[in-house]
């Protein structure tokens, strides 16, 4: 078991954003979390990687690093691509001792090749397109060989071809690292092409859990509304509530 979330609760002010969410993700498996904007999807990722703490509930993850690919890449502006990718290797004492500078250089080149961006070590994030930045953030995330990889809307704002490329990398990384992955997304292609299982959140609760095929079958009224992008159904936008 790589990630196990039990009865998670998180409240911001008066609003209960996560309300008793539970799920499991095995090694080598990808779980997609879908739902309205503001339904608590990104909060779950932040809870798993420890950026915020739950009010109650339990999160159990395998030993080893947790990596996160941020929605807007979150690359360090002042560092070039090579230093971005090697950031943890340079800044963490145990990793700095483990690798020589030459080895770090080789690791950076290898990770860049893995995401199809060979030879851009000396470029700065501002010189890259959105899709390239996203791929560099993939390379940075996997440099510590994590056991858990979290993706926060990895294909948001990208053109369909770049999205397909990113989706392929998610699958490829899962196959190569056997990590447990959680993908937060709105995009149907990302759900169907990358996920083994899907959960849908509404009002902080899980309203659907199943495979992407089961989701597309639209037996559930929530998934039906989501897939049809319909205004009619059990889900109401937050402003309407």
């Amino acid at each position: 078991m790589s990630i196990e979330v039990k009865n998670l609760v998180k409240t911001f002010g008066d609003k209960r954003v996560i309300d008793g969410v539970s799920f499991k993700v095995n090694n080598g498996e990808t779980l997609a979390i879908v739902g309205f904007s503001g339904s608590g999807k990104s909060t779950i990722l932040k809870l798993i990687c420890g950026l915020t703490t739950p009010d109650s509930g339990e999160i159990i993850t395998s030993e080893g690093d947790i990596a996160m690919v941020f929605q807007y890449s979150a690359l360090f502006d002042s560092l070039n691509v090579a230093d971005n990718i090697a950031f943890a290797l340079h800044e963490r004492k145990e990793l700095r001792k483990k690798y020589t500078e030459k080895e770090i250089k080789n690791i950076v080149a290898e990770k860049l090749e893995l995401v199809g961006l060979k030879g851009i070590e000396n470029k700065f994030p501002s010189e890259l397109s959105g899709g390239m930045q996203k791929r560099v953030s993939f390379a940075r995330a996997i440099v510590t060989e994590p056991k858990t990889i979290l993706y926060d809307e990895p294909t948001a704002g990208l053109d369909p071809i770049s999205s397909t490329l990113i989706e392929d990398y998610i699958v490829r990384l899962k196959d190569e690292t056997h990590a447990a992955s959680v993908v937060v997304t709105h995009q149907m292609s990302t759900i169907t092409r990358t996920a083994n299982r899907v959960i849908m959140l509404y009002n902080g609760k899980v309203v659907f859990e199943g495979t992407p095929e089961e989701m597309l079958r639209q037996d559930n009224e929530y998934t039906k509304q989501f897939c049809m992008a319909s205004l009619e159904g059990p889900m109401r936008m937050i402003a309407e509530n």
Binding site: K46, L51, I66, M68, Y72, A74, S78, A88
Partner: protein
């Protein structure tokens, strides 16, 4: 209290005044708490020797070399203003022999360090705050945490240390420029000779003045960097949050160095 009474009470001017004072006080206490906690964490990292030398050199260059032109200009011009106001009048009143003493004492004890502090705040402090605030709102600080790197060690330690190390030499150079500018201005406005100016300049300067000046400079440098980093680190929201954090860093740094200056004056010169 029934609902309508409560509503009426909340709309009253008294309630609004006290509620505003409470909110403002809570924000001040919260900021002071954040700065203190960050200071403790920075001290811990420094004592453990967790210092990124590459980043420290880069920040020292930013704090010292980049800020030098503006600092020298401000201290030099302040000195010109003061000398042009007092030199002629003192010479007229028969106090020409004390112009150098007055100018040097003023620059070494106060003007050099406080004006350098203001210049550093406006140039370096604001840039530190906006840089870190931008990192906060673009999730770069979250990325640092997820990569299991201590953001205080990575962001604060080199910046605070660079302030501590670089501010004294910057102030020393600025004070020297200020004294020379004062001598030239006194000569031009009142015809006071350079020899007379510098002869009296030495009379008013003691080792204690120089030591306190350097101690003040180091303290101001570290405090400006700490406050600027803390305000940037606590930023939230988007571009507005970055702007608010930068303004807050500048205001807090100005107030802090004036309070510290008063403290130094009370401890060392009362």
């Amino acid at each position: 209290m029934d609902y309508s009474l409560k509503k009426y009470y909340k709309q009253s001017a008294t309630y609004k005044i006290f509620s505003g004072i409470f909110t403002y006080s809570a924000a001040i206490i919260s900021t002071l708490g954040d700065i203190s906690l960050n200071a403790v964490e920075v001290a811990k990292c420094i004592l453990k020797g967790q210092i990124d030398r590459r980043e420290l050199i880069e920040q020292c260059n930013r704090f010292g070399i980049s800020s030098l032109p503006i600092t020298l200009s401000i201290v030099g011009m302040t000195s010109v203003i003061v000398a042009s106001q007092v030199a002629l009048e003192m010479v007229k009143q028969g106090g020409g022999n004390f112009v150098g003493l007055l100018m040097t004492m003023l620059i070494v004890r106060e003007v050099g360090v406080i004006m350098s502090g203001f210049a550093i705040i406006s140039m370096i402090g604001s840039s530190l705050a906006s840089e870190i605030a931008t990192m906060r709102v673009t999730e770069q600080i979250d990325a640092i945490k997820v990569l299991k790197v201590n953001p205080i060690r990575y962001l604060f330690v080199p910046r605070v240390l660079s302030g501590l190390i670089m501010m004294p030499p910057v102030v020393a150079i600025a004070a020297a420029v200020g004294v020379i500018a004062g001598a030239i201005t006194a000569n031009l406005t009142s015809g006071l000779g350079y020899l007379a100016f510098f002869d009296s300049a030495w009379l008013g300067i003691y080792m204690k003045d120089l030591s306190v000046c350097m101690l003040k400079a180091a303290t101001f440098g570290a405090v400006i960097a700490l406050i600027s980093c803390s305000c940037g680190y606590a930023a939230h929201g988007g571009a507005k949050g970055v702007g608010e954090a930068t303004t807050k860093a500048v205001v807090w740094s100005f107030v802090a160095i004036v309070i510290l200056d008063m403290f130094f004056a009370m401890v060392f010169f009362f």
